[in-house]
Amino acid sequence: MEIPQGAKDEIMERARYCFGCGVCMGGCPVARVNEGFNPRLLVRELILENWEEVLTGDAIWLCSQCHLCTENCPQGVGLSELIVKLRNLATSLGITPPKSYTDKIKLMARTGRLALLTAPTARARRSLGLTEMEEAEVKEIRKLAKGTGFETFLADLEG
């Protein structure tokens, strides 16, 4: 796999300062429910230059982007932003995210939401006295996708 040096440098610029304290892992809500996810080891792999493993693995797609690690990191690694960069790099290299992730993307493109508004959810809302959910502006989302180049990616996914 040919990874552009510029992309590597940009990602490593802050990642290099990691000294492995594990604050990111300690506070990570995803790690609590998914044993396979360890943000500290993700940075570790980058420092040891195991790029292919990181980019083709599931870990970068599991992050929920809660930014807790970024807030708490004593060395300013900025893990949340770093993961976004890794996702973009992976995508640009033609790596497809795991199906669970692409299903979400497709759902969003189709409905404008990451979770379906099901009948039980609607009932629950009514019982709590909440308003009816409105349909999302799918058109707007499509427009955004077009403007950002996300459309091409979607087209590939939808094959």
Partner: protein, 803 residues
């Protein structure tokens, strides 16, 4: 007891209400009137106040007093005050004794005024009993030679020498090798600033050579030291250079014609030098030396020198012995680097591409043997991948158990230099803990990470060499991921431990100072006297006392200079008279005392009785307690004085009493703290202050039980905290067997306590006192009396036998 008529004055202080609120001071003063020898006894609100002191002075004159006892606060507080007072009143300051009825009584016995008052009477009786046996003592004064010896010419020795010389003192700087400069002269850069090592050290070296107050003695070693603080007589042995220092001007024509090349020690043997050489171009003094082991005596150098119009080379030069007199000595002999050959797992000496940190240091230096190129010894090629391994010989019970302290930083420095010179180089640092705890150090570590140096936490269990490629494979666990990995690199650099420099043991014997368990010189106190040897007038600077980096060494060097100047700034130095002396009539010349003295203050010549050098004695009293023939006396803490205190402390209902021996520095101070902190506990303990637990003789314990004591406590500092280095170890050795002996005699061994507590452990002292009182109550006075009665013949026999 002295033959003169005893005329003792007793003064009981109220300390406002600090004492008087609990203790009936008037009653104590009244009761003291009946003690033998007491001619006047008074109580007063503040004895330490001017009127209080005036009262004592007036009474000394009016009642012709020859002893004074003040019952007030702790002697650790006001003993010096009252000593001065009685001296002003016309009697010797050592004819004064204090009873501690504040910290030891009123402050820790609230709510039991009657018992506290009874205790105060006993404490005064004990002080009066001791006072009856006091002798006048004179403070000794020894002259001070205003010159100093500095041993070792590395960065520490250089700074001590320059500081002292700048203060105007004559300094002899003795260096073993042919040039000063030490390890620092061989370093490329210094962390964390990366300034050039020789560029900052060189000017200091030149300053040493040019300073009118410094006499530089290179190629020389100290072979003999006699005397004591202010008056050391030192013999320095100078090896022949075979080049006259006066005539040689360092031109180097001799070396250029010399046909012999041998490995250069200064270059870690990576480059050659001639048989006639200077260690390095900036050497001070810049004078050549002939290595006679390598020289073939072709005498080309002689011709070359004569062609320059000089005649410096002298093959007939002889070793010289010079004797000098100095007032103080600073030991700055530095450290050596651990030889990694001693641990096979690192492959040093087996695989050529495993090198040491010092070898890299020389390689990366532009003036070094490879002119700044870092190459693999096997193929002289620049490696693409390098792994640094830390803790080589450090933190390893098979090598050195301690952390060498500066290796993390020099490893970072070398890695940063390599990365800076060769950005493409792939650099790993394999480390266990990264210790970067001084100004600018953590920032330097961060800088190293930012440069892309890769850090792997772990340690190779073994380094294998690949014979085909010359590469090395480090088998280790990446502790961050928990995975075993085989790290293949082209060059491995080992960060060696710092070990005591060669000859440390011999020098410690010459100086009669101690070394620690790691072999470095041992400081007198780890916190408050970190530069002082236990022997007065001898100080440490730099790594001789334990591994140190450059700023720390320089700081300690200046501190050692100030310690030295503190002595040399006086014409005479006062020595405390509370010291030991040997009665030559009684001495059987067994030599036990010489082995017990931690200061080498006692010497014994063949067939002669032992002799104490007063200026070397610190007055712990350990030799006194261990002398099998009772030939040694500790002034101001004599056997007779202590026995009198024991008897007085147990004069009434002894079965309920605890007789406690407390060392002056830790346990007495800890007991003081119990009072200061107002911990409350029963009044049963009768304390006796000794300078060190090592002073406590077995006979003191026997005497206490013979006099009916309920319990005996012997207490001192925690191990390694002893004010006299090893006094408490000797106390333990002597007192521990007593548990068995007492049991054989019929005494419940629980009635003896051996306790170690610090000046900070007042609460502990209160607790053990309560425990001891509880035991006395549990056993009952009848049982104690019966045990003591039963043990009496046996103990008396032991007393007659002398312990």
């Amino acid at each position: 007891m002295n033959s003169e008529e005893l005329r003792i004055g007793v003064y009981v202080c109220h300390c406002g209400l600090n004492i008087a609120a609990v203790v009936d001071c008037a009653e104590v003063a009244e009761a003291s009137k009946s003690l033998p020898g007491v001619v006047v006894s008074k109580d007063y609100r503040y004895m330490c106040s001017d009127p209080g002191q005036e009262m004592i002075k007036k009474d000394i004159a009016e009642h012709d007093l020859n002893r004074v006892v003040v019952a007030a606060c702790s002697p650790r507080m006001h003993e010096p005050t009252f000593r001065k007072c009685v001296e002003a009143g016309g009697i010797n300051p050592f004819l004064f004794e204090m009873a501690n009825i504040r910290e030891f009584d009123s402050w820790c016995h609230h709510g039991v005024p009657e018992e506290a008052t009874e205790k105060a009477k006993d404490l005064v009786a004990m002080a009066v009993a001791k006072a009856r046996y006091l002798s006048p003592l004179e403070t000794l004064e020894v002259p001070v030679t205003p010159a100093s010896l500095v041993i070792g010419g590395g960065v520490a020795g250089i700074h001590t020498a320059l500081d002292l010389a700048d203060m105007g003192y004559k300094v002899y700087l003795v260096e073993r090798s042919s040039s000063i400069g030490g390890k620092m002269a061989a370093l490329d850069k210094t962390f964390p600033t990366l300034d050039c090592s020789i560029c900052i050290l060189g000017p200091k070296m030149v300053e040493v050579a040019q300073h009118p107050n410094i006499e530089l003695m290179t190629y020389s070693e100290v072979t003999k030291v006699e005397g004591y603080i202010g008056n050391f007589h030192v013999t320095v042995h100078t090896r022949p250079r075979y080049v006259d220092e006066e005539q040689c001007n360092g031109c180097g024509e001799c070396a250029s014609v010399c046909p012999i090349e041998v490995p250069n020690r200064y270059e870690e043997a990576l480059g050659p030098r001639k048989a006639i050489y200077v260690e390095f171009p900036q050497a001070i003094p810049l004078r050549y030396t002939i290595d006679r082991d390598a020289c073939i005596e072709c005498f080309k150098c002689v011709d070359a020198c004569q062609e320059q119009g000089r005649d410096a080379i002298n093959f007939n030069m002889e070793p010289e012995e010079v004797e000098i007199d100095v007032g103080t000595i600073t030991v700055a002999t530095g450290f050596d680097l651990y030889d990694p050959r001693k641990v096979k797992q690192y492959g040093y000496g087996i695989y050529p591409n495993v090198v040491t940190a010092m070898e890299i240091e020389r390689m990366v230096n532009a003036a070094g043997p490879t002119f700044g190129h870092v190459v693999r010894p096997s193929d002289r090629r620049q490696p693409e991948t390098v792994a640094f391994v830390t803790c080589v010989g450090s933190r390893d019970e098979k090598a050195q158990i301690y952390c060498s302290g500066f290796c993390c930083m020099y490893t970072l420095k070398n890695a940063v230099l390599l990365k800076d010179h060769f950005p493409e180089m792939d650099i790993y640092i394999v480390f266990l803990d990264m210790r970067t705890n001084f100004k600018g150090y953590e920032e330097f570590y961060r800088r190293a990470r930012g440069m892309g140096i890769k850090f792997i936490r772990g340690h190779p269990d073994e380094i294998f060499g690949d014979p085909e490629t010359g590469n090395l494979i480090l088998s280790l666990e990446d502790l961050s991921s928990g995975r075993p990995i085989d790290l293949e690199v082209e060059l491995v650099v080992l960060s060696q431990a710092a070990v005591p420099s060669e000859g440390t043991k011999e020098l410690s014997q010459i100086l009669t100072v101690s070394t620690d368990t790691s072999g470095f010189f041992l400081e007198s106190h780890p916190k408050l006297k970190p530069m002082d040897a236990a022997t007065d007038g001898i100080y440490f600077a730099g790594s001789a006392q334990g591994p140190k980096d450059i700023p720390y060494s320089v700081a300690q060097a200046s501190a050692a200079a100030s310690r030295s100047a503190r002595v040399m700034s006086h014409d005479e130095w006062e020595i405390d008279p509370i010291i030991a002396y040997v009665d030559p009539e009684k001495c059987v010349k067994c030599g036990v005392c010489t082995t017990k003295c931690p200061y080498g203050a006692i010497t014994i010549e063949e067939g002669e009785p032992a002799v104490v050098t007063p200026a070397k004695c610190h007055g712990c009293g350990t030799c006194v307690a261990d002398c099998p023939s009772h030939a040694i006396t500790q002034q101001h803490f004599t056997d007779a004085q202590i026995m009198a205190q024991i008897d007085a402390g147990l004069r009434e209902s002894p079965e309920s009493k605890i007789l406690g021996f407390l060392c002056n520095w830790c346990s007495y101070a800890g007991a003081d703290l119990a009072g200061i902190s107002r911990h409350q506990f029963p009044t049963n303990l009768r304390p006796i202050r000794v300078m060190c637990s090592g002073r406590v003789k077995r006979e003191f314990v026997y005497e206490a039980f013979l006099k009916g004591a309920g319990m005996v406590m012997v207490s001192g500092c925690h191990f390694a905290d002893c004010h006299y280095i090893t006094g408490n170890y000797n106390a333990e050795k002597r007192i521990k067997p007593l548990f068995n002996i007492l049991e054989r005699a019929g005494i419940n061994p629980k009635r003896l306590r051996l306790e170690w507590f610090s000046a900070a452990e007042g609460e502990y002292y209160a607790r053990i006192t309560r425990e001891m009182v509880a035991l006395i109550e549990e056993l009952g006075e009848d049982q104690i009396r019966a045990e003591n009665e039963k043990a009496k013949p046996f103990l008396e026999k032991l007393m007659r036998r002398g312990g």
